[in-house]
């Protein structure tokens, strides 16, 4: 009976571990919300989406932004549509403020500049 219990518990542990590991957050960078002034501030103006649709290139964000742990970024979206800015999603009329709390790299597409990406490198 003791062996049976050990085997059952071991099986459950293996499955649970697999589920937790494979469903866990595997991002290499954590961020935290802040309310004070940010080190890097960007504003998406009203009509930015339409201007992008029309083929205009808006140089609001750099391709690569190098920051340090403890610094922060604020993106104010004054446009009437949602935008994907690298690894961040900023809804229409929303403001996103994040502090970088660990080193790593965040990258993703940039809807302000179709076909391009916005990468943030965070170092100690």
């Amino acid at each position: 009976m003791k062996k049976l219990l050990i085997a059952v518990i071991a099986s459950a542990a293996v499955v649970a571990t697999a589920v937790i590991v494979l469903s866990g957050d595997d991002s290499i960078l954590r961020t935290a919300s802040i309310t004070t002034a940010a080190d890097y501030e960007y504003e998406i103006p009203l009509g930015a989406g339409e201007r992008t649709d029309a083929g205009e290139e808006l140089n609001i964000f750099p391709w690569i932004l190098k920051v340090r742990v403890g610094e922060s970024i604020r993106i104010v979206n004054n446009d009437d549509r949602d935008h994907l800015i690298g690894a961040f999603f900023v809804g229409a009329g929303e403001t996103l403020t994040q502090e970088f709390v660990s080193p790593g790299m965040l990258t993703g597409e940039c809807s302000i500049r179709p076909g391009s990406s916005f990468t943030i490198q965070v170092s100690e």
Binding site: V8, S11, V15, A18, F89
Partner: protein, 345 residues
């Protein structure tokens, strides 16, 4: 040769053959079949630049929730899908032959859901196309990266219901310019409750049957569950998207092992436990292949998601239990000493 001596070789042979059979079909499948995802993509509009309707029988759809863009045209209608830089990428000829330009960057970039394969010596978007025939069904499906978010980690600050991707794809159908407008939405995360219930149920059944030394008899019914779940996944995706046959073949091997455990009861514990070991191994591999069903919201199946998740949990727990149980039994057999003769003075 004693039963104990042939034990390792027969077990090894069984496991080896099982793995070969399981892995061979994998090489014949397309790369990166539709899998679980957190995004739902949809076509919001299809417009022709001349304003006229598309020919009857033309179908443009998103398959695999957010994975593939699929195009089907009727026989006699030609279609072209340009690559990301406007180069020749995919063609459907009027006789239904479909071909892919091996010189196009898009051919390689679109092999994978996340665009992992990009560097190859063949790529030259400016070179004359090198067409490779890939089918004859008047249908093509491809990982168009404009229809989905290109990371398995949702963007920071995004919430379920947010439209993450909005884009358009240009096509040429019957010589006319067509634009397909798409968007992709983040959906709510999956509930873990079905998986937990399935796990608990399986643990209870396994515990009872282990105690009664009849656990090997469960290999077939559990394999049948895996076969149903795998079959539903395989049949759910269109052929053009290359559904993975391994999700069916692996539980089929396990089911065969399950039948063998019944038959093998006549031949002794060695065969029964050997078959259970093979079946358990196959089921464990199958569950590991499908482990993403526990962490993503949308699953590649026509079955209710709760059924898929709970059944996968049952198979995972049972598979591990079959392996543990059969190895324990085989180990016990291997340490049994032959009876010694009693001698009397």
């Amino acid at each position: 040769m004693t039963e104990q001596n042939i034990l390792p070789s027969r077990l090894a042979m069984s496991m080896f053959l099982g793995l070969i059979i399981a892995l061979v079909p994998g090489s014949a499948t397309f790369a990166d079949a539709p899998g679980p995802t957190d995004y739902s993509s949809r076509i919001t509009a299809v417009e022709t630049l001349d304003g006229l309707p598309l020919p009857e029988g033309v179908s443009i759809s998103i398959e695999g929730h957010d994975s593939f863009l699929a195009l089907t045209v009727p026989k006699g209608v030609a279609a072209e899908v340009p690559g990301y830089e406007g180069e020749s990428y995919l063609n459907i000829d009027p006789d239904c032959t479909t071909s892919e330009n091996q010189r196009s960057m898009s051919t390689w970039y679109n092999k994978d859901r996340f665009g992992g394969e990009t560097s190859t010596d063949l790529v030259d978007n400016d070179a004359n196309p090198d067409w490779k025939i890939i089918g004859s069904s008047c249908s093509v499906a491809w990982h168009d990266h404009r229809i989905h978010y290109m990371s398995s980690i949702p963007p920071i600050n995004a919430e379920p219901g947010d439209v993450i991707v909005t884009d358009s794809i240009a096509l040429t159908i019957d010589g006319r310019d067509v634009v397909v407008y798409v968007e992709s939405e983040l959906v709510a995360p999956a509930s873990q409750l079905p998986a937990i219930i399935g796990m608990m149920m399986a643990l209870a059944i396994v515990a009872v049957m282990w105690r009664g030394m009849t656990l090997a008899l469960l290999v077939f019914p559990v394999s049948a569950i895996g076969l149903i779940i795998g079959g539903a996944q395989y049949l759910w995706a269109p052929t053009e998207t290359g559904p993975n046959i391994n999700v069916v073949v692996i539980p089929l091997i396990a089911a065969t092992s399950g039948v063998a455990t019944y038959v093998a009861q006549q031949r002794g514990l060695l065969f029964t436990n050997g078959s259970a070991l093979l079946g358990g191994t196959m089921l464990t591999i199958w569950a590991l292949l499908r482990i993403d069903v526990f962490s993503y919201a949308l699953l590649p199946t026509s079955l209710p998601y709760w059924a898929d998740r709970s059944a996968t949990a049952v198979v995972a727990v049972s598979g591990i239990a079959f392996v543990s149980y059969s190895m324990q039994q085989l180990w016990r057999m291997s340490i049994v000493r032959p009876p010694t003769e009693l001698t009397t003075d």
